[in-house]
């Protein structure tokens, strides 16, 4: 083991020594410093950072609402929040976390920053659209903030009719308008990425030489383009019904409330894959770099990303098994839902096979990866309980569902995001962060997360429904456990909020390729990158995860 560690250190030094070329005088962070140069930038890297600031603020806001929910659930009685305020709190938590944080998290931050560099180009295909997408996102956020300030919305993030139509207050349409607007931001990002990947790859960068993160972003972008307009139309239809009296969802006008659920979930289930697919892409990069080995089953992982995007569009009605869906349609959707497990399983097994006989190092991004793979697997497996028609009748709308989707959307998606941020932080900022604190943070998040959400599987199985602010006394122990876990989780998330900004100003300067990775952003690009990423067309001759050159360099140094 010590020999392996020694070798790795040598490799790291080799990479640093080899790359000790003079850094360019300017990089994308310092070549222009005015506020206007940031707010009006067309540079994909700066836009990525604008998004990072935006989503970080939203994460804190959404987390604050989560804190309120968990504090209320410390006791069986509704003694902190009234039922109405509780409803508004979980709605705000869901809306902010999903539409303002999770959906733009990896695509808009890491995707924007890295995708052009990883395929060897200078920017995305439409830089102005890229900047517009950020301001559209910000405008949508303003509408949602307005809805909160006007008194909030109590429909849950799903905006189900008739709660959002017949029985809604005026704030629902303000919030829905916010979601409608944010959707266009998502579409613009997806459109930009699809065109960039199709048209702007460096010479030699064939489809099957692209990093798996790019494949994941491609699959995500397809969902964003194809799915998001449907939710926009659905929201518009709610508006038509409310203001023009057109019968679409209201039975009194000849409509059908379940139609809303069909249209909503046609987007919102694939939206889960908008959140998790990019994390799966990040995971593939992490496992390869920190195992010093090409990804096992590269082609099948690339194709499984596309398969997940496609399967993701034909499973939506598993959210509606108890809503009056026909039993035959339910059976079809149940079988199709099981099929999503296949491409997901392919990825997990391929990552494990990549680590097998690899030179695995335990740098902090890899610790996040380990957390990710465990939580994602538990989240995925418990999804099979819910796709089974019989058990779903019992578990639907209970805390089992809450635990399941948090394992995917927080355990999977955010753990992947954190892993990605830690992995690419030296590239983004040109600085190294405190590795020990990062590992502590990863451990706190993993432990805190499991204490928060694992008890909720039991709560749900025992029959505790979601979205209630009171519960029977015998369920208090598990709820207290969950709240205490949430406190640990919050500390785990706040810690990087301190050491990462600190490292930005005071951290050790990062070498060009501190992890010894093989993708273009590490091998051909300085840390931080120059304003136009590359001074020349980066050469792409080999498979993307070819470690033979780096290993040879390491061997030369060690002799």
């Amino acid at each position: 083991m010590s020999a392996i560690n020694l070798d790795r250190r040598v490799v790291g030094e080799a990479a640093s020594t080899h790359e000790a070329t003079p850094k360019p005088a300017t990089n994308y962070l310092n070549h222009e410093t005015t506020i206007a140069s940031w707010l009006l930038t067309l540079d994909h890297k700066r836009i990525g950072l604008l998004y990072l600031v935006g989503i970080s603020l939203m994460f804190v806001l959404g987390g604050a609402f989560a804190g309120l929910i968990r504090l209320e659930l410390m006791t069986p009685k509704g003694d902190l929040l009234t039922g109405d305020v509780y409803n508004k709190s979980f709605t705000a938590h869901g809306v902010v976390m999903i539409f303002l944080f999770l959906i733009p998290s990896i695509p808009a931050v890491l995707g924007n920053f890295l995708l052009p560099i990883m395929i060897g180009t200078k920017d995305v295909a439409f830089p102005r659209l890229n900047l517009l997408s950020f301001y559209v996102y910000a405008a949508g956020g303003v509408f949602l903030a307005l809805a909160l300030l006007l008194g909030g919305v109590d429909t849950g993030w799903t905006f189900y009719t008739p709660l959002s139509s017949t029985y809604a207050n005026g704030n629902v349409m303000v919030a829905a308008l916010g979601v409608f607007v944010i959707g266009f931001s998502s579409i613009l990002t997806g459109l930009n990425f699809v065109v960039t990947i199709h048209r702007m790859r460096a010479p030699g960068m064939t489809w099957f030489r692209m990093p798996l993160f790019v494949w994941a972003m491609y699959a995500t972008s397809l969902i964003q383009i194809l799915g998001t307009p449907v939710v926009a139309i659905t929201i518009a239809l709610v508006g038509f019904e409310r203001f023009l009296g057109v019968g679409i969802f209201d039975p009194r006008l000849g409509g059908d409330p379940i139609l809303f659920q069909h249209l909503f979930w046609f987007y919102s289930h694939p939206a889960v894959y908008i959140m998790i697919l990019p994390s799966l892409g990040v995971a593939s990069e992490l496992v390869s770099t920190f195992s010093r080995k090409g990804v096992f089953g590269y082609h099948i992982i690339a194709c499984s990303s596309i398969a997940i995007a496609i399967f993701g569009f034909v499973v939506w009605a598993h959210h509606m098994f108890t809503s009056g869906l026909s039993q035959y349609a339910a059976m079809v959707f149940s079988v199709l839902t099981f099929s999503v497990a296949i491409p997901s399983g392919i990825k997990v097994f391929s990552w494990l096979a990549t680590m097998y006989k690899g030179s695995v190092s335990l740098a902090s991004p890899m610790i996040f990866f380990f957390g990710f793979i465990g939580l994602f697997t538990i989240g995925g497996m418990t999804g099979l309980f819910l796709s089974t028609l019989g058990t779903d009748i019992h578990l639907h709308d209970t805390y089992f569902v809450v635990a399941h989707f948090h394992y995917i959307m927080v355990g999977g998606a955010i753990m992947g995001f954190m892993g990605g941020i830690h992995y690419w932080w030296p590239k983004i900022t040109g600085r190294m962060y405190n590795e020990t604190l990062a590992k502590i943070s990863a451990a706190l998040i993993f432990v805190g997360f499991n204490f928060t959400f694992f008890p909720q599987f039991f709560l749900g199985y025992m029959g505790m429904p979601r979205r209630y602010h009171e519960y029977p006394e015998e369920l208090q122990v598990l709820n207290v456990l969950s709240t205490v876990g949430a406190s640990v989780l919050a500390i785990g998330y706040l810690t990087p909020g301190i050491y990462l900004p600190f490292s930005f100003f005071f951290g050790k300067k990062a070498p060009k390729n501190p992890w010894g990775a093989t993708t273009l952003e590490w091998t051909e690009c300085e840390s931080p990158p120059s304003p136009h990423n590359f001074d020349h067309n980066p050469p792409v001759y080999d498979h993307v995860y070819d470690y033979s050159t780096l290993n040879k360099e390491a061997a030369v140094v060690s002799h």
Binding site: V230, H262, F266, W316, S326, Y328, A329, V332, F333
Partner: protein, 111 residues
Amino acid sequence: MSAHNSANVEAHAGHPHHEPASLVVYFSTFSALMILTILTIWAGMQDFGALNTPIALGIASFKAVLVVLFFMHVLHSSTLTKLTIFASMYFLGILMVFTLADYLSRGWTGQ
């Protein structure tokens, strides 16, 4: 010379050559759309029973196809553009077919 030719071929593949559509095509398409609009209004005043909606949707779809093919130039666009249109329609088809799979089978009790 051959390199020049291959470069041309590549440029041609990447950016398909757009023949400027003649005014005759535009006006013919516009006329067809106007006629179909009159047909829509006429059909809206008739009672075809269960065929009311299919007939209205049929005329509307035909009009949409004319717009896409001629006004949006898809008829002479690259294969990638056609594939993009097809993919969008395919996904719309998934939405319609699977949603109708629920509505049309709700009366089936299995008895």
